[in-house]
Amino acid sequence: MENSKSEIKIPTMAEMAAEGKEPEILFWVGCAGSFDERARKITRDICKILQHVGISYAVLGTEENCTGDPAKRAGNEFLFQMQAMMNIQVLDGYNIKKIVTGCPHCFNTIKNEYPGLGGDYEVIHHTQLIQQLINDGKLKAEGGESFKGKRITYHDPCYLGRGNDVYEAPRAALEILDTELVEMKRCKSNGLCCGAGGAQMFKEPEPGKKDINIERIADVIEAKAQVVAAACPFCMTMLTDGVKNQDKEQEIKVLDIAEITVRANGL
């Protein structure tokens, strides 16, 4: 696969449908993945992985809409269900069966809350896809940047970990790198929130002693990690801000599991 970066071509469902084709899997990008500057890079990396392993996939592009997750967590069930039902119409219109998401919040909502409104799909998070590809021998962590000897820690996103019991998939993606995987004192089911969930991303935190991401970065620093791996665009923002706040940008890098995979495989 000799794809230079400029060559990645992202297929949309509309184009596919026009050609009379149905992809195997829909990549649900999500709002952060579409609009947030940092998250957009991760979105492209997920596409690179899909393209590299030759899975037939497509995205909705401008036809995608917010899943309604932030509205639901904030208590606006009306808005959530409006979004959900419109999205289900689009998804069913394209006869979609399998979805991979780049965000644990989209993952949770489509997987758990859409079925009750008539939307039944097989939903996986991108870290689960990466784990499968590793298990199938399609991703090897070869030919790219070496993470050898680096101390890497993984921050569990609440909606992937506690919310849906996905703890091993993202770790599997790190375990094949020849690194030192260290756990923070609060990890897995005991992990600490980044502070963005439950619609907190869209408001100022209530008054307190400090912000939640600062508390979390202390765990990263304590683990002496050089890389903190994220698997959620909201965690990405919070962790990056936390690292900046503590003036640790030189020592600690925040990278999504997809980015790490892309780098390790030289995609």
């Binding site: 592009g61 808005l79 269900q81 809350e113 992990g191 209530e206």
Partner: protein, 433 residues
């Protein structure tokens, strides 16, 4: 004969009042909205066996787990002893199980004594953790006054009961050695035999000690029984049904409100005719009666251990929110409503509600819905569900969400994203390098 009569009266009164208070709690719980938690009975039994019987969620904090396990096992097993005391009390017998059980009886009494010592130790350790070490988990704004003394009363009572039990055995043991009266040789006394030298030698003084301790022990237990419905200690009973009716869905899954589904369907498709779902009701929860019976059962089950609060990211970083307080407020409010019903009849309204009178908006908006509290609770309580229901009320009934959230709602509605970007730009990322 007189003693038997007095015993039967005390027992009857105790059981009557206990039954009455329990049925009040049951009634209060049933003031909540209906929710279906009867599916998958096999799995539910399993969850209960694991979490309530097996105490599997306690192990995360090993010291507390071991100490709690002593008290828990002690409580269950010592009930056998209590059964004997009841029978003896009613029929005026003495150590009625000693004949039929023979050698096993000796072993059992010995085991009870060792358990009693373990329970004593655990209670003393717990008292120290609360009052000397001042563990952070047991402090907090909601842990003043009653909740604070409640825990201490329970521990002290348990210490007194265990001491009475051991002293009673010690006196009995000494009387057995003297072959006095009906004090047949029965039981084995690995612990109380060590206490025996501290007791007087005369048979009459020993009989008095044995009887006083016997009465103190059993009357104490009956009082304790009646204390339960007023106390966090009620968890020893409710932990079982509460875990049986656990939420079996993934924690990230929130309920889809059916009443909203009908309205949304009608909006999207004017020809849609909703099934009749009964009274329209309120969206979300303003007061406890808007919550489900399961939420209310959880409120009565909460043992105020604070494991939820100690892992809550909002609480850790100094925000007002404490999931334990959410549960305690819910319990206090439903109890208040229950008392109003008892005093003023079924339709009495006070001008209070859970929202604002008990729980402030600041607390509710601090939650990140991270589910840490739900994960941490040793009896599967879900404070997050109550928080979400109350947010729903604020947003959908009152339209009082914080301004920044209203902006987000507007963006989602108009642009299909929580930020103010145009839908047309949604695919721009594909063009980047």
């Amino acid at each position: 004969m007189i003693a038997q009569l007095i015993f039967i009266i005390i027992l009857a009164v105790a059981v009557y009042f206990f039954g009455k208070n329990v049925s009040k709690i049951r009634r209060n719980i049933l003031l909540g909205k209906d929710t279906d938690r009867n599916d998958q009975p096999a799995l539910r039994w399993k969850v209960m066996a694991k979490i309530a019987l097996g105490q599997t969620k306690m192990v995360k904090r090993p010291v507390a787990a071991v100490m709690h396990f002593f008290i828990y096992i002690g409580f269950i097993i010592i009930n056998l002893e209590v059964l004997e005391i009841m029978i003896d009390g009613i029929f005026g017998s003495h150590r009625i199980f000693s004949q039929p059980l023979g050698g096993l009886y000796g072993f059992l009494i010995g085991a009870f004594e060792i358990l009693a010592v373990l329970v004593l130790t655990a209670c003393i350790v717990f008292l120290c953790r609360r009052n000397v070490v001042h563990l952070k988990r047991f402090t907090g704004t909601e842990m003043t006054q009653w909740p604070k003394s409640d825990a201490n009363y329970i521990l002290i009572t348990e210490i007194l009961l265990m001491t009475a039990f051991l002293t009673m055995n010690a006196a009995d043991y000494k009387l057995q050695l003297q072959h006095f009266g009906h004090y047949i040789t029965a039981g084995s006394f690995p612990v109380s035999s060590l206490l025996a030298p501290l007791l007087p030698g005369s048979a009459s003084a020993l009989v008095i000690t044995e009887r006083v301790c016997w009465w103190f022990h059993i009357v104490g237990i009956l009082c304790f029984l009646n204390y339960l419905p007023y106390s966090k200690h009620f968890h020893i009973l409710l932990a079982f049904p509460n875990t049986y009716y656990s939420n079996l869905n993934p924690k990230g899954k929130f309920t889809n409100m059916t009443s909203v589904t009908n309205e949304v369907k009608a909006m999207l498709d004017p020809s849609f005719v909703p099934e009749n779902t009964g009274e329209p009701g309120r969206f979300g929860a303003k007061d406890v009666t808007d919550l489900s019976w399961k939420n209310l059962m959880e409120a009565y089950t909460c043992t105020e251990c604070g494991r939820c609060t100690s892992v809550c990211p909002a609480n850790i970083t100094g925000k007002l929110l404490s999931p334990r307080k959410i549960m305690m407020d819910t319990r206090d409010r439903i109890t208040e409503i229950g008392n109003n019903i008892d005093k003023h009849g079924k339709d009495h309204q006070d001008d209070k509600s859970l929202l604002d009178n008990y729980i402030t908006r600041e607390e509710l908006w601090a939650c990140t819905s991270c589910n840490a509290c739900v994960e941490a609770c040793p009896v599967n309580i879900n404070p997050l569900e109550i928080i979400t229901e109350m947010r729903r009320y604020i947003v959908m009934e009152e339209s009082q969400a914080p301004a920044s959230l209203n902006n987000m709602f507007g963006n989602v509605e108009n642009n299909g994203a929580p930020w103010k970007y145009s839908q047309a730009d949604r695919f721009n990322w594909a063009e980047e390098q």
